[in-house]
């Protein structure tokens, strides 16, 4: 709501400046978004009158002789065609700087000197119309300063008061200002001179559903003359951000801005007389609205209808056919209270949001309807020369009763942590027009009709808190001694992040919604369960339209974005939820298991002078996963197993105690090219819920052997079909507990050994509990290992 500082003075005597007022308003809950000065930079622009006008002999221009008051008559040329002798126009003489920065000078236009310029609305900066010269209203004083004459100099305070429908009107804001400054509020009078035929003779109103329209009033103003509004009215509307149209429409907008009650003026002559019905639209009913659109209505939309059909969409927009036009002389003025939720549904369905619909949505009280009608009728009579028909058609099936709330001052103080005395509370509420009656321990508070946001004790507590001032409430620390803690699941997330960060990975956070095409890029077959996707009904874009069922597309897109920006080295992880529906379409909330994705591209250390650049390979990724599992105290095993998007020979499942925790592998070349990735990418995904359930609690310390260990190397020549895991398992099994560690330190395949073989070299640590192993003992264990490898697996030992 744009609050004009000048306009506000009509209702309350404000003796602090606009910026100070803005601070005070913010402090009571009318949050000020900004204070803007308007009508600045108009110095030197004056009101002139065209006394003579003739065509230029050699150009498409008019030569005007313009009287600018004190400085006499000037010759001014213009290309505009809308001016006539006698018109008042804004004039800038040479030496004046226009709001846009242009300096007016004497110019020669095809042989005739132009001693100034006449200006359009947009050049003055008050409107958008730049098609012609701004013809000023008659009462603008010749020669006077334009900004003064039109009341253009003002300050506009932009306020946001989300739940305060009453503050969508100047009077509502003025009430707050009066309360906070301790001043009185002056409401404008609504004098009416009624004459002629009573309105009921011509019009009846019927409300079909009082739930959707609690009150509908109509007044009739005859003999009006449509013309531009007077200057003060135009200035008020402009300050509030609305464009003046004509005196009738301007009055309806003015009163709406003043009191928050939207009004509508019908051309009464174009309305079929008799019954006006407030009813739901018929199936397939149509209306051409003010904006010229032909619209089909839905049966849940409320309309105003005459005998021939809908003439307005209630609270949203009027119909074109009954619009007020220049020749309108008979007006039917609607002032009504439509139900907010209904107006909201209709305006959203039609994509029509207006100042009026916005106010209805927030709530218009049926009690304020009549005053607004009288105020508008009074202004129309005064400004458009009409006569008001006696009476008001007032369909008000169930007049609302004032809301009465019981207030306990002790309770208010208990919630606020204050010691405000009852008398103070009473005074605060009364300043806000609440009617306070003590009744024993409780206080009865009658809520004024315009405060539809107040209907309970807690609402009054808020009124008291803001009038008391939030700054005047102490700041204390609540008692009690609860424990701050995190769940095991959250601690696991923390630990996982710590471990992966320790491995040199950067955490990334990507959107939960991804492109459905991601699943084609990942080469997932149609039946893959990851294709069971939750789709957003209103995504920002198709690329962000489905909830992810895997973190992989997000991290791959991140790698691709980095590579596209010449960042080929990226070691990333993401920890986040995926969204798995148990049925589609969704009837229940999906499960949101936590996943962890790891993706390595390029080199960890980039190019440097210490070593040759080396891109991360499968074993770099496996090392990260092994490190993570070790850090979580899990014993992982890896078995070859591929995914559609992984290299078929470089992929594995991650198992712990036979349970699958996830997978890892090198990205399939087709997926690399689908994501336009320039280097091989290693990627893994772990199901953190499975990790959580596999994670042991606090682990038990294992004694560190005190007796010396013996380390011996064992170089094996193995048929290629045996995996490293199988060989290591045999060594461990046969060696028994004295084999403390088996580490592989060399793998060779190539020319120096037979093509169906590979060489594996292990370093085996032997150590016994409680004693020192002798060479003979170690030799015996090693011998058993050699024999077993030879006999079971045809693996020979390569002796040096």
């Amino acid at each position: 709501m744009r609050v004009s500082y000048r306009w506000l003075q009509d209702y309350v005597d404000v003796d602090i400046d606009a910026h100070e007022l803005a601070k005070r308003l913010t402090a009571v809950g009318l949050t000020v978004e900004g204070v803007a000065s308007i009508g600045e930079g108009l110095e030197g622009i004056r009101v002139g009158r065209i006394v003579e006008s003739s065509p230029h002999p050699d150009a498409e221009l008019r030569i005007c002789r313009v009287d600018v008051g004190g400085s006499g008559i000037h010759t001014i040329l213009s290309g505009a065609t809308n001016v006539q002798t006698g018109d008042l126009v804004p004039v800038a003489l040479p030496g004046t700087r226009l709001p846009g920065g242009h300096l007016v000078q004497v110019v020669d236009m095809k042989g005739i000197r132009s001693e100034g310029v006449m200006l359009s609305e947009s050049e003055v900066g008050v409107g958008t119309d730049h098609t012609g010269i701004w013809i000023l209203p008659r009462e603008a004083g010749l020669g006077s300063d334009l900004a003064d004459a039109l009341g253009l100099r003002d300050q506009v305070i932009e306020i946001e008061a989300y739940n305060r429908a009453d503050c969508l009107g100047m009077i509502g804001v003025a009430r707050e200002v009066a309360a906070l400054l301790g001043r009185s509020l002056q409401l404008p009078p609504t004098p009416l001179v009624e004459s002629g035929e009573r309105i009921e003779e011509r019009i009846q109103v019927r409300i079909d559903d009082p739930g959707l329209c609690s009150r509908y009033t109509a007044r009739r103003i005859q003999g009006v003359r449509v013309a531009p509004s007077v200057l003060w009215m135009q200035a008020r509307l402009r300050a509030a951000g609305m464009r003046p149209i004509n005196n009738l429409v301007d009055v309806t907008n003015f009163v709406m801005l003043e009191i928050g009650q939207p009004l509508h003026a019908f051309d009464a002559n174009r309305l079929r007389e008799g019954l006006i019905q407030v009813r739901l639209a018929g199936e397939g009913e149509r209306i051409r609205t003010l904006d010229g659109e032909d619209r089909e209505l839905r049966p849940d939309m409320l309309v105003i209808a005459d005998a021939a059909g809908a003439v307005a969409i209630a609270g949203v927009m009027g119909g074109l056919e009954t619009e007020v036009m220049d020749k309108t002389n008979d007006v039917l003025l609607e002032s009504a209270a439509f139900r907010g939720a209904s107006v909201r549904r209709t305006s959203r369905a039609l994509g029509l949001r207006s100042e009026a619909s916005m106010r209805f949505e927030k709530g218009v009280s049926s009690e304020g309807v009549a005053w607004a009608s009288n105020r508008a009728a009074s202004l129309m009579q005064q400004l458009a020369g009409g006569t008001v028909a006696p009476g008001m058609v007032d369909a008000y099936p169930a007049p609302s009763k004032p809301v009465v709330v019981h207030l306990r001052s002790g309770r208010v103080n208990r919630i606020l942590g204050t010691q405000i005395k009852f008398e103070e509370m009473k005074a605060m509420l009364e300043r806000l027009h609440f009617d306070v009656t003590p009744a024993g321990d409780v206080i009865q508070v009658a809520v004024p009709y315009f405060r539809q946001d107040v209907d309970s004790e807690i609402d009054l507590a808020e009124e008291i808190a803001r009038m008391h001032g939030y700054d005047n409430i102490a700041a204390t620390i609540p008692g009690g001694s609860p424990r701050g803690q995190k769940s095991e699941r959250m601690r696991l997330q923390d630990r996982t992040k710590d471990l992966l960060v320790g491995c040199g990975l950067r955490e990334c956070i990507t959107y939960s919604f991804i492109s459905p095409k991601s699943y084609d890029r990942l080469r997932l077959p149609p039946e893959d369960v990851r294709r069971r996707l939750i789709r957003l009904r209103n995504p920002l874009a198709e690329d962000l339209s489905v909830l992810r069922t895997t973190l992989v597309p997000g991290v791959l897109e991140t790698l691709a974005r980095n590579a596209h920006r010449q960042q080929d080295d990226a070691f990333l992880f993401e920890l986040g939820a995926v969204y798995l529906p148990d049925e589609l379409p969704l009837h229940r909330l999906p499960v949101e298991p936590l996943r962890c994705a790891i993706a390595l591209m390029g080199s960890a250390s980039g190019r440097n002078w210490h070593e040759r650049r080396r891109d991360a390979d499968f074993f770099d990724l496996k090392g990260v996963v092994e490190g993570l599992l070790e850090g979580l105290r899990l014993q992982g095993t890896f078995v070859a197993e591929t995914q559609p998007f992984l290299h078929p020979g470089r992929a594995a499942a991650i198992l712990v105690d036979g349970r699958r925790l996830g997978w890892l592998g090198e990205l399939h070349p087709e997926v690399l090219s689908a994501y336009d990735l320039p280097r091989r990418v290693q990627v893994a995904e772990l199901d953190m819920e499975a990790v959580l359930s596999a994670t042991p609690g606090v682990t038990e310390y294992a004694a560190i052997g005190r007796h010396p260990a013996v380390v011996r190397d064992l170089a094996l020549l193995s048929p290629k079909e045996w995996t490293g895991a199988e060989i290591a398992a045999v060594i461990q099994e046969v060696g028994g507990p004295v084999v403390r560690d088996t580490s592989l330190f060399d793998v060779y395949e190539g020319d120096r050994i037979p093509p169906d073989k590979r060489s594996l070299a292990y370093s085996i640590t032997y150590q016994a509990e409680g004693r020192t192993l002798t060479d003979d003992e170690v030799g015996a264990v090693e011998g058993r290992i050699r024999t077993a490898l030879q006999e079971r697996m045809q693996i020979s030992v390569r002796d040096k």
Partner: protein, 342 residues
């Protein structure tokens, strides 16, 4: 005889000392030692010769010989040490590195800046006895709106443009539904914070369709608006520094009343006014308020018995302010050059 022996001792001694003085490398030290003090060394031979002397001459000869040996040993070790030092000096000079060359790096990882902000917020509130809880991101309209006092067709829905999945299921627009879910499961006292992702249909340099909030809730028997102020002020001062001042302004949220917004003195300019705070000296950090009695009733609490306050803050906003990030999209692009800075 005796004189001849003494002359011989002196001669060998002088010769040995001269040899010591003439050594130029560490390797020579051993040679000289062997030549004079070794098993077959000249001084050693002379010592062995003592047994052939008459008993009365032995003490004097022995004394002279021992003195000679000590002198040579001393000279050897002194000169040896000198040479070793010199050799070491030479090696150290030869081993000099260009210390300005880059080091051999262990790769560093990092938590996302948003995670770091959430971690910090959690740490502070855990210190004040808050438990960290979670709730679903895909929510029902009922929990995201209706149970929070925002019925269907309520204008407050405009404050949060919503991603819908069905008529009743949506992406949560706020972490506030976690409040309701926690209160449904527990009896007071409740003291929790709920960090998490939230979603709104909005995308520009200050709005992301996915962003993070931290919600907080404290319900007990004697909780006041003054407690809300004190708790949040303590948070702000720990988060933004002890000198931070806070300001509470009345505001509107459907599920709290009275409601407030908390501003902190601008962390850029300290309150003197700058571009970040739009020359106000204050920046808005969070929304808060006393839990609405309707919300308490809805979860089966008696509003006469239990009072509480709730608050919610935007993690992106705080992160952007702390690190002077001017475009929210940077947080979700995950450019490694950006991530490296945190």
């Amino acid at each position: 005889m005796q004189m001849a022996l003494y002359d011989e001792i002196d001669r060998v001694r002088e010769e040995a000392l001269a040899a010591c003085a003439g050594m130029t490398t560490v390797a020579e030290v051993e040679d000289v030692r062997v030549r004079y003090l070794g098993k077959k060394g000249e001084l050693t031979q002379l010592l062995r010769g003592l047994v052939a002397l008459p008993a009365e001459e032995r003490p004097e000869a022995g004394k002279r010989l021992n003195e000679a040996r000590d002198a040579v040993e001393r000279a050897l070790s002194e000169r040896g040490a000198e040479l070793a030092r010199a050799a070491q000096d030479v090696r150290l000079v030869a081993e000099r590195l260009d210390v300005t060359l880059p080091g051999r790096r262990f790769p560093l990882g990092s938590r996302h800046p948003l995670t770091q902000t959430i971690d910090e917020i959690q740490r502070i509130f855990m210190g004040m006895g808050f438990e960290v809880v979670e709730g679903p991101e895909v929510e029902s309209d009922e929990y995201n709106f209706q149970r929070l006092n925002i019925p269907l067709d309520h204008p407050a829905r405009d404050m949060q443009d919503t991603f819908y999945i069905t008529d009743d299921i949506l992406l949560r627009t706020q972490t506030s539904p976690v409040q309701i879910r926690v209160m449904e499961k527990r009896k007071p006292p409740v003291r929790v914070i709920a960090p998490g992702k939230v979603y709104r249909v909005d995308a520009d340099i200050t709005h992301s369709p996915m962003f993070h909030q931290v919600e907080g809730l404290l319900v007990d028997t004697h909780v006041t608006f003054a407690d809300l102020k004190g708790t949040l002020r303590a948070f702000a001062q720990e988060m933004f520094g002890g000198g931070t001042d806070v300001r509470f302004r009345p505001s509107y949220f459907p599920f709290t009343e009275p409601s407030a917004e908390m501003d902190v003195t601008c962390i850029m300019c300290g309150g003197s006014g700058c571009r970040v705070c739009k020359h106000e000296g204050w920046v808005e950090i969070l929304g808060a308020g006393m839990v609405h009695p309707k919300a308490l009733l809805g979860v089966g609490y008696d509003p006469e018995e239990s009072v509480g306050f709730a608050f919610g803050m935007g993690v992106e906003r705080i992160t952007m302010m702390r690190h002077r990030i001017d475009d929210i999209r940077l947080l979700f692009e995950n450019d490694v050059r950006f991530l490296r800075q945190f």
